[in-house]
Amino acid sequence: MSVALEPTRSFQGLILTLHRFWAEQGCVVLQPYDMEVGAGTFHPATTLRSLGPKPWKAAYVQPSRRPKDGRYGENPNRLQHYYQYQVILKPSPPDLQDLYLRSLAAIGIDTRLHDVRFVEDDWESPTLGAWGLGWECWCDGMEVSQFTYFQQVAGFECSPVSGELTYGLERLAMYVQGVENVYDLNFNGLEGAEKVTYGDVFLQAEQEYSRHNFEHANTQMLFQHFKDAEAECRSLLEKGDRGESAAHAMALPAYDQCIKASHMFNLLDARGVISVTERQSYILRVRELAKACGAAFLRTEAGGFVAA
C-alpha cells in the first residue's frame, strides 16, 4: 500500500482501510445508495435487510444529508453533507465489540495509547420506527462511532438481532490526521500541488447547499413532493401486493419513495416551515410508510418469504 493511502494520511485511505477490514470479515462491500438520506441506516441494505431471518453482512459508505446542520462552510465541525461508514452484521456476532476495536486498530488507533470507551446511547429513529440499544464509542472523549444492537426496525421485532456500526468518517479522519478543521483534511494523501483537501472537494458545496437548505428551497414544491412520494409509496405497495400467498413484488421501489418523503421532510424542517405540532405528524406519516415497506419486504424472498 502506498503511503498516501495510509488511513492516517488520507480520507480515502481511511475508507479503503475500513473496506478491506470489513471485506475480510465476510461483508459484501456495497456502494452508497443513490438517493438522499439522512443516515447510513436508511440504506435498504440496513433498514430492510435487518428484517427477516436471513443472515446478512454488509459494509458501505453512505453520504448523509442533514439540511439543518449546514453552517455555510463556516463551522469547522458541522456539515450538511458528510460521510458515514456503515457496517451491518446479522445476526450480531458474539465478538462484535472485538471486531470493532480491531477495526480501530486497523485505522491506527492504539487502544493502549488512546482511551476508548463504550458510553450508553440508546438509538432510536422515530421516522423508521426503529430502536436499539448500544453505545457511543468514544476515543479520548470524542464520539467516533455508534454501536447498536437493533431490537426493532420498521415496527417489527428484529429476529435475529443485527449489530450496526456507524463510523463518523470526517471526525475519525480529523482525529487520525490530527487536523482541527474538517476542510483541512487531506483527501488524497498527497502533498504539495498534488494535495487535495476536503475543502477543495466540499467547501463550495457546503456554502451552496446551506443557501439552498435554509433560504431558497421552494417550500411549496417540497410540500408537493412530500405528498407525491407518500402517495406513490402507497400506490406501489398496493400494486405490488399479490395477495397473502404470493411474494410482494415492489417493496424496494416503494421504500425509495419512503426515503424521498423523509428527505423532503428534512428539507422543510430546515426551512423552518414545519411547526412543532405538525412536525410530529410528519414524522408519523413517514413512519407509517416505513412500516408498510418493512411489512412488504418481509413478504419478499430477501425478507425470508417462502411462497406457499
Partner: protein, 759 residues
C-alpha cells in the same frame, strides 16, 4: 461457613444503572436463598462497567431437611381420590401413607413427605437462571443468533460469562454448575478490557478482588469514586486551583471506568468570555469532565479534569490532547450560540430591536405547544404576565416590571444556547436580558422565576422575581388542576408537587400574605381567556346554571380549588413543616380546626355547630397557618397551655361519650339559670370573656393574643373539673353542664382543634 461468589460479566453496562443493578442482584439472590432455608451472615454486591458481582458469606452447606404432612382423603374414599392423593404426595402405593383418626371425620390418610435438604450449590444452581432471566433492568435487549428464538435471554447488553463458586474459606471451592441460553457458569473472568484482557481463574472473593486489582479493575464503585475525587483534588491543588465538585458527575464517571486515571487538560482562555455556567455545562454534558476554579470558590479557569480508563504508555499525553480538541470544538459551538443569540434573528427583526424580544416573537410565531389542553407557550406567557401583574402589589413589586419580566421569562427557550443545553434555561435569559439593557430586577427574575427547584434550592427574594415565580407556578398548578392532570401516587410528570412546594417556600420565607383562593381564581380566569376549550365548557355550565360566566368561574374555582387544590397545598405544607421539625399534630390541629367542611355534610354531631367557615380565611393563607402552628407550639410549652390542653381534651372526651350516648349534640346555649355551683358560674363567665377576646385576636391575626386569652381560662377549667360533677343526676343540670363543656370546646377551637393534639 461457606461463601458464594457470583459474577455476571457483560458488555458495557450504562453507568446510571450499575448501582441499582448490584443492589437488585444482592436482594434477589439473598431473598431466594432465605426463602429456601439458606440463611446467610452477610452479602455485598458490586458493579463496574462490565460486571455485577455478589459475595454472600456464611451460608450453610445444605438446606435444612423438610418434613411435611400431607392430608389425604378418608379411608375408603373412591379410587380416583386415592390416586390423585398418591400422585400429589409422590407415593406409589396407599400402604406408604399413614392412617390417622379424627373424632369428626373418621379415619383418613396422611402422607409424610420427607424432603431432605439439598446442597446449597444445588439450590443456587436452581435459582440463578430464573433470577438472570427476570432481572429488573430498566431496559434490556436480545442479541446474536439466539435472539431469533422465542423467549431468548434478555440482558442490559450481551451477557458474556458467568462466574459462580461456592466453598469454605480453607478449601478449594466448587463451581456452581448451571446453564442459561448456552452460557455455562464457570470459575473464570477477565480483567481490564485493554490493560489485562486475559482470562483469570478465580477461587473465592478474596483472590477475586486481588486478581482484579492486578488486572487493573477496581471492583468497588465507591472506591473508584474516592480515587477519582482524591486525585482530582490533588491535581487541582498542585496547580493552586480548586475542583468544582459534582456528585452526580462523579457517580457517572465512576461507572464509565474500571481503572480510573485522572488527568488535567486546558482550553484557550478566550473561551472564558462565555458565561461560566455554559462552559461548565458544555464540558460536563459532552465530555463528562470536571472544571477547576480559583481557590475559595473563585472564578472558573481554563483547566479541566478528565478521567480516563487506561494508564497510557505515553503518560496520557495523547488522551489529554484528544480531549482538549473536543472541548475546544464544543466551546467553539457554545461561543457561536452565545454570539448568535445576541444578534438579530432573521425573519423576526421587525418584531423588535431587542434580540430577546425577537426570540419571544419567534416563540409565539412557532406556536409551540405547552400542553395539548393548555394551549401554546405564547398563551401561557400571556397568562403569566397577567397574573404577575396582579400579584405584584401583594409582594411589593412594580407591576410593570413584573409584567415585563414575565413576558421575557420564557424567551430563552428558543435561543440556540438553551436549545443545546437545556440546563442553562433561565440563566441564559438573564444574561441576554442584561445585555439588552433590561432593568436589573427584570433580568434577575428571568432566571429566578424557576426557583426554587427543590427543597434545598434558593428561594427568590427580589419582589419582581417573587411575583413572576409565583405567577408561573400558580398558572401551572391551576392549569393542570383544571384539566384534571393531578399527581397520583409516585407519578407527578408535570412536577406539580415541586411547584406547590415552591409557592409555599416563596410565601413563607418571604413572609408574604397571599390569599390562595383568590390567587387560584385569578389564575383560573386567565386560563379561561386563553383556553377556548375551557371557556366553552364554562359558557355551557353558566348557561345551564342560569348565571353569569363570571359567577360560574367563581363557583367552579371555589368548588374545585377550595377543597382540592387547597388541600393539596395543605398536604405539601404539612410535609414541608414536618421536614422543618414542626410537630405534625399541631399542624393537623390548626388545619383540622377549619376543616369542618371536610367532614361529611350533615354529620349529626357537627351539623348544628356554628362557625364552620369561621377560620377559612386563615386557611387560605399559608403564613397565617404557620404562625398559628408556631403560636400554638409556644403556648403548649407553658404550664397554662398544657393544663388547658388537658382540660379541653377532658371536656372533649366527656362530650364525645355523652353526645354519642344521648344521640344528640349539646351545642345550644348555656342556660344561666341552671348554673348551680359557683365553679360553673365562674367558668361560664370566664368563657364569655375569653371566647370573645380569642375571636377578636384571631380576627386580628394576633395568635399569641388568642392563646393568652384562652390561658386565662385555666383556673376556671381546673376548678370546674375539681368541684363539679358533669353527669349530675338531675337531667337538666347535666345537659346544661354538657353545654358548658361544648362552649369550652368551641372556645378552644378558635385557635385549634385541641383533640388532634397528642399528649
Amino acid at each position: 461457613m461457606p461463601d458464594l461468589l457470583l459474577e455476571l460479566f457483560c458488555e458495557e453496562i450504562p453507568a446510571r444503572m450499575q448501582r441499582r443493578a448490584a443492589e437488585d442482584l444482592r436482594k434477589l439472590v439473598t431473598d431466594a436463598l432465605v426463602e429456601r432455608g439458606c440463611v446467610y451472615e452477610g452479602a455485598q454486591a458490586f458493579a463496574t462497567p462490565r460486571r455485577l458481582a455478589l459475595h454472600v458469606v456464611g451460608l450453610p452447606a445444605r438446606q435444612p431437611d423438610l418434613r411435611e404432612e400431607k392430608k389425604g382423603p378418608r379411608v375408603g374414599a373412591p379410587e380416583a381420590a386415592l390416586q390423585g392423593f398418591l400422585k400429589s404426595a409422590g407415593l406409589t402405593d396407599i400402604s406408604q401413607a399413614q392412617v390417622q383418626a379424627d373424632p369428626k371425620k373418621g379415619e383418613f390418610y396422611v402422607a409424610i413427605v420427607e424432603k431432605p435438604g439439598r446442597s446449597t450449590p444445588e439450590v443456587i444452581a436452581d435459582i440463578m437462571p430464573g433470577i438472570i432471566r427476570g432481572f429488573p433492568w430498566p431496559k434490556s435487549m436480545r442479541w446474536g443468533a439466539a435472539s431469533a428464538n422465542p423467549g431468548a435471554l434478555r440482558w442490559v447488553r450481551p451477557l458474556q460469562s458467568i462466574l459462580c463458586t461456592f466453598g469454605h474459606e480453607m478449601e478449594t471451592p466448587e463451581v456452581v454448575q448451571f446453564e442459561i441460553d448456552g452460557l455455562r457458569s464457570g470459575d473464570v473472568t477477565r480483567g481490564h478490557r485493554f490493560l489485562a484482557p486475559d482470562l483469570i481463574i478465580v477461587r473465592r472473593f478474596d483472590d477475586y478482588v486481588a486478581a482484579l486489582e492486578r488486572a487493573k479493575v477496581v471492583l468497588d464503585a465507591d472506591r473508584r469514586k474516592q480515587m477519582i475525587l482524591t486525585d482530582a483534588r490533588n491535581l487541582a491543588f498542585a496547580r493552586g486551583l480548586e475542583l468544582v465538585e459534582d456528585e452526580a458527575l462523579l457517580e457517572e464517571v465512576a461507572g464509565l471506568v474500571e481503572w480510573p486515571v485522572t488527568l488535567v487538560g486546558s482550553f484557550d482562555e478566550s473561551f472564558l468570555a462565555i458565561p461560566p455556567e455554559v462552559v461548565r455545562a458544555t464540558i460536563r454534558a459532552n465530555q463528562k469532565c470536571f472544571v477547576l476554579r480559583e481557590p475559595a470558590a473563585g472564578a472558573l479557569t481554563n483547566r479541566f479534569v478528565l478521567v480516563a480508563n487506561i494508564e497510557a504508555s505515553d503518560g496520557g499525553e495523547k488522551i489529554v490532547g484528544g480531549n482538549q480538541r473536543v472541548v475546544r470544538a464544543r466551546l467553539s459551538d457554545a461561543r457561536h450560540f452565545w454570539e448568535t443569540d445576541q444578534r438579530p434573528l432573521p425573519d423576526f427583526e421587525s418584531a423588535s430591536d431587542k434580540p430577546l424580544d425577537q426570540r419571544l416573537a419567534k416563540l409565539r410565531a412557532l406556536g409551540i405547544v405547552f400542553h395539548e389542553k393548555l394551549g401554546t407557550q405564547g398563551e401561557r406567557i400571556d397568562r403569566i404576565v397577567a397574573l404577575a401583574r396582579e400579584l405584584a402589589p401583594l409582594v411589593g413589586a412594580d407591576p410593570d416590571l413584573a409584567a415585563r419580566a414575565a413576558e421575557l421569562a420564557k424567551a430563552d427557550l428558543v435561543t440556540e444556547m438553551v436549545g443545546e443545553f437545556p440546563e442553562v434555561q433561565g440563566l441564559m435569559g438573564r444574561r441576554y436580558a442584561e445585555l439588552q439593557g433590561e432593568d436589573r430586577s427584570v433580568a434577575a427574575a428571568v432566571e429566578e422565576h424557576y426557583k426554587p427547584q427543590g427543597p434545598t434550592d434558593r428561594v427568590p427574594t427580589d419582589p419582581v422575581s417573587v411575583a413572576v415565580a409565583l405567577a408561573d407556578k400558580l398558572d401551572t398548578l391551576v392549569g393542570f388542576w383544571a384539566i384534571d392532570e393531578k399527581p397520583t401516587g409516585s407519578k407527578d410528570p408535570f412536577a406539580l408537587r415541586r411547584a406547590a412546594l415552591g409557592v409555599i417556600r416563596i410565601v413563607l420565607e418571604n413572609g408574604i400574605r397571599l390569599n390562595l383562593s383568590n390567587a387560584f381564581a385569578s389564575a383560573y380566569r386567565s386560563h379561561r381567556t386563553t383556553n377556548p376549550l375551557l371557556a366553552s365548557q364554562l359558557d355551557v355550565a353558566a348557561a345551564s346554571a342560569g348565571q353569569s360566566v363570571a359567577a360560574t368561574i367563581n363557583a367552579v374555582a371555589g368548588a374545585v380549588y377550595q377543597s382540592d387544590l387547597l388541600s393539596f397545598f395543605h398536604d405539601r405544607l404539612k410535609n414541608y413543616l414536618r421536614d422543618q421539625g414542626a410537630r405534625h399534630d399541631l399542624i393537623d390541629a390548626v388545619l383540622a380546626d377549619a376543616a369542618s367542611d371536610r367532614e361529611p355534610p350533615g354529620s349529626p354531631l357537627r351539623a348544628g355547630e356554628p362557625g364552620g367557615s369561621r377560620s377559612r380565611a386563615a386557611n387560605d393563607d399559608l403564613l397565617a397557618i404557620v404562625r398559628r402552628v408556631e403560636a400554638l407550639g409556644r403556648f403548649l410549652d407553658t404550664e397554662d397551655g398544657r393544663n388547658l390542653l388537658a382540660g379541653a381534651k377532658r371536656a372533649a372526651n366527656i362530650l364525645r361519650i355523652e353526645e354519642k350516648k344521648d344521640g344528640r349534640a349539646y351545642a345550644d346555649a348555656v342556660d344561666p339559670a341552671l348554673l348551680a355551683q359557683p365553679e360553673e358560674q365562674a367558668l361560664a363567665t370566664a368563657l364569655d370573656a375569653a371566647e370573645g377576646r380569642a375571636r377578636a385576636a384571631v380576627a386580628a391575626e394576633d395568635f399569641e393574643g388568642a392563646m393568652a386569652a384562652l390561658a386565662v381560662l385555666r383556673p376556671a377549667v381546673d376548678a370546674f373539673f375539681d368541684k363539679v360533677t358533669v353527669n349530675a343526676d338531675e337531667a337538666a343540670l347535666r345537659a346544661n353542664r354538657l353545654r358548658l363543656l361544648s362552649r369550652l370546646r368551641e372556645a378552644t377551637r378558635t385557635v385549634a382543634d385541641f383533640s388532634a393534639i397528642q399528649g
